[in-house]
Amino acid sequence: MFAFTVARRYLLSSPGQTGLLLAGVALGVTVFVFITALVEGLAVRLTDEVTANSAHVSLQPQTRTARILEAPGLRAEGVALVSTFQRQQIREWRQVVALARAQAGVAAISPQISGSAFLVRGEAVQPVSVTGVEPESLDVVSPISTRIVEGRAQFGADGILIGRRLADELGLSAGQPVLLRTDRGAERLLTVRGIYRTGLQSLDERVAFLSLRTARPLFRLPEGVTNIEIKLDRPEEARALARFLEEATGLRSTPWQEKNTSLDDALIAQGQTGRLIQMFSLVSIVIGVASALVLSAYRRRPEIGIMRAAGVSSGFIARVFLLQGLMIGLIGALVGCATGYGVSAWLASLTGPDGDPMLPIAPERGGYPAALVLTTLGAVLASLLPARAASRVDPLEAIQQ
């Protein structure tokens, strides 16, 4: 296409100016890519922190209040009475676990008995939230066995695992006995087998782990479990799986996002800020390209006039300027993506004194396709005005100049 040849020749005719313009566009794209990589990286880090230490989908029995309405023959008090004594539980949990395990993307499953209790040692009493797990599923929700700082991650027949802070508050160390009294009125003397430190305050201060077998009599649940916790390979698929399991089992099914709405809000706000900066960098690219090409169209009025006089169509002239915009946009975007990736990768490789990366940048998530498409589109859009001006040059006026 001849218009392409002419556009290229025009751009090459003043390499300094074109270079400067390209540098400007590339800088804008670099900012775009960097901000995108930072926002995405931050989101990934925050999401990772949350999803690493919580279940991705939690299954619980439906609350019974709904059933009172469904059973008009029964007196409401009677039902309420039953539900106070009889714990809500998932009796058919083995089927549910089998069903969940059969789903693609499910990484691990932990059926649990959760309840409230007190730990008593001498005069000291501390409320704890007890989690009864199958010993092999201890690490499903949060890694515990790798965080043991004292003793071992084993339950044995009467073992209990507690957090560092709780142990300190009760003056307990591994191997010592402690009395557990549950809200079901059962109690038993247990042995502290291991003490862990996860760095998460709630876990270290208020949670104790038992084996499912030990928990059963203490919470008076000979068969059922109270909840089933599921981890996924890809946490972002939690909503879909939760919806499926809720329909398939009738259990209340909660994806992690619903338990962490403040994280969602933070991510949305952060995304909006990022988008604003992206928009500004795009706008500055558009303005830069438009002003450079408007100037060029003005400077070339006489030659445009002579082309028009010689019978070159206004469409051809417009194409020459649109193609200049396209080339500047495309090349600037490619260069900008490369430098943006370079800068992000370099910053991501910087580590603080503790060996962790200083900035949570995800260089591979710089929004490259968007940067490429939007910049090119923006540059073409920016060249509309100069293209229009150039194609409307009156040959006679331009020649007489």
């Binding site: 082309m307 010689a310 019978g311 070159v312 040959p395």
Partner: protein, 230 residues
């Protein structure tokens, strides 16, 4: 034989505030194929205006114009562009070559823009024209590296690339020294003689006019005298 150009009662008024300036007040003109015509007149007599109207760069206020048998005064903008490309050639006082292109590319340009590129056929045609204007050794020079006379010769070659029936030249030698002017004029005479292309040359230069086969004198917006018509 059909005349190359027929202009009937061409008028041109320019708005000038509340009034109008009448520049052409009824020009009648007929050019036969193969004529070499000088258009003369004092400064401000409307020579350039008439040339622009005949070249479809300016619309007349009224009047009819036929070129090569086609009515052209009522064409659309697009139609005028197309007609200029197919039938007309221009040479201006200032050469207006494209500075980023070589002599050959400048000559080829008007044809290449429609053909989608400088095809080998267009290249051959442009090279042939440059040879004929005596610039075969300068084909690959960029425009700014040519002398004034050379540039004007390139401009003449460019005017001829699409094989026009009529070339309109507005003081083509106005910016040139005696010798270059002579060369350019000789070139136009040669093209006129060899190819039968009609030239309408607007000039102040008696010497130029003397070489033409016909002279038309413009005065007060009309043709005052017309001598040597075939």
């Amino acid at each position: 034989m059909t005349p190359v150009l027929v202009a009937r009662d061409v008028r041109k008024d320019f708005p000038n505030g509340d009034e109008v300036t009448r520049v052409l007040s009824g020009v009648d003109l007929e050019l036969a194929s193969g004529e070499l015509v000088a258009l003369l007149g004092v400064s401000g007599s409307g020579k350039s205006t008439l040339l622009s109207i005949l070249g479809l760069l300016l619309t007349p206020t009224s009047g009819q114009i036929h070129i090569a048998g086609e009515r052209v005064d009522d064409l659309s903008d697009r139609g005028r562009t197309l007609f200029r490309r197919r039938r007309l050639g221009f040479v201006f006082q200032a050469h207006h070559l494209l500075p980023d292109f070589t002599a050959l590319e400048n000559v080829a340009f008007p044809a290449a823009a429609t053909a989608g590129g400088i095809t080998s056929e267009i290249r051959a045609r442009a090279a042939d024209l440059l040879r004929r204007v005596g610039l075969e050794a300068r084909m690959d020079f960029r425009a700014p590296r040519l002398s004034g006379g050379q540039k004007q010769r390139v401009a003449i070659a460019r005017a001829l690339i699409n094989e026009p029936v009529l070339v309109l030249a507005d003081e083509p030698t106005g910016n040139l020294d005696r010798q270059s002017a002579e060369q350019v004029l000789e070139l136009m005479r040669e093209m006129n003689r060899d190819q039968g292309i009609t030239f309408l040359i607007c000039t102040h230069d008696e010497h130029v006019a003397a070489q033409c086969s016909r002279r038309i004198q413009l005065s007060d917006g009309r043709v005052e005298s017309d001598t040597g018509a075939t």
